[in-house]
Amino acid sequence: MNATPLLNPFSLFFASIFTSNILLANFLGMCSFISISKDSKSSNGLGFAVTVVLVITSAVNWAVLHYVLIPLQLEYLRYIVFIITIAATVQILEMIIDRVSQALYMSLGIFLPLITVNCAILGVSLFIDIRTYSFTQSVIFGLGSGLGWWLAIMALSAIRKKTDKAPVPAGLKGPGITMITIGFMAMAFMGFSGMLQVQ
């Protein structure tokens, strides 16, 4: 676990999708993950929205951290500042999409408010701070984490289509069997960890 931070952008990209999947290894973004994964169409929309927002907010929060908070020695305010940046980004994105494309707004816009409270978004910004990533690394990490989350939710929604009809014990129906399914997915993703790992 204590490997030195990987500097190679490709390794970082693949590690953030597979071996250090933001959801399956770091447990982030679970709330919307469980409720939305019932339906694969919404999962796709939300996955896309999360990826877009992650790339933008990881870039913005990196800039805010390095050009505003650190020079002014206000690092202890970072939680509040990060969450405001995320809320503002989501709001602006929603307005832009509404103006530019109605079709995209219908497929993406309804998920945007959900994203502000998605732990994965804030989590990525906090990881960028703690692991002291450079700007390029931050954007790559944001993109990779978003794609990893998208992949995980699509896979889970496909599995849930089957498990919903399967004869599951009454107490295990719904969230119970979903957690166990996620557990198996996490094990499968961990199989990649022999290749590379990111701390």
Binding site: L28, A170, P175, F184
Partner: protein, 201 residues
């Protein structure tokens, strides 16, 4: 209006945030591999929930409805920063191990959920009590998972060795998937008992 005793029973058992809604596990499941970290983490969540519920309830007549979400988020962030600073000052090792997860209490859905569902429309002290009991319900489930994970994964509890010397630790318990499996099983057991109670009543 419900009585304090009713609220306790509801939040810890019949309407437990984790069993019934699977809410708020994001920020805490990751630290369940060690019991000490789990205790600190869930105490932080309980403190934040209680204090934010109290604050929102005190201010409930002054916060305009339209901007209540952002005001609530800021209130939560304020208490989370306090927790973070306290941990850094008094428990620096644990603070380092918890890493980003302390900050992630902000996006814990339970806190926001209790504010929307309860603190908005109830008096301050009752709201604080609601926050504390929700925290206890949450703590109970996560502690169960942490006890199993630390006992089987490291052979210890609170860092003190419990298992005999020839016990071979289960590697899976240290890694992420076990948290998902155990949570699934805990939900299963909880729901089964609840279904039986429901059938008897």
């Amino acid at each position: 209006m419900s009585s304090p005793g009713q609220i306790l029973k509801e939040n810890v058992w019949t309407n437990n945030p984790i069993f019934m809604q699977v809410l708020g596990i994001c920020s805490a499941l990751a630290v369940t591999n060690l019991l000490t970290n789990t205790v600190i983490m869930t105490l932080g969540v309980t403190f934040t929930t209680a204090m934010s519920s109290l604050t929102v309830s005190l201010l409930r007549n002054y916060i305009p409805r339209k901007i209540r979400m952002i005001v609530q988020t800021l209130i939560i962030a304020f208490y989370v920063i306090i927790v973070d600073i306290l941990l850094r000052a008094y428990l620096p090792d644990i603070s380092r191990q918890l890493g980003p997860y302390v900050g992630l209490i902000i996006t814990n859905c339970i806190i926001m959920g209790r504010m929307e569902a309860f603190a908005q429309s109830n008096p301050p002290l009752l709201s604080a009590w609601d926050g504390i009991t929700s925290g206890i319900g949450y703590m109970a489930v996560l502690m169960t998972i942490a006890v199993i994970r630390e006992l089987l994964g490291f052979g210890s509890l609170f860092g003190i060795r419990i298992m005999p010397a020839n016990f071979i630790p289960w590697t899976i318990m240290v890694s992420a998937p076990s948290a998902f499996f155990l949570l699934g099983i805990v939900i299963w057991i909880g729901k089964t008992i609840m279904n039986r109670e429901g059938a008897a009543a």
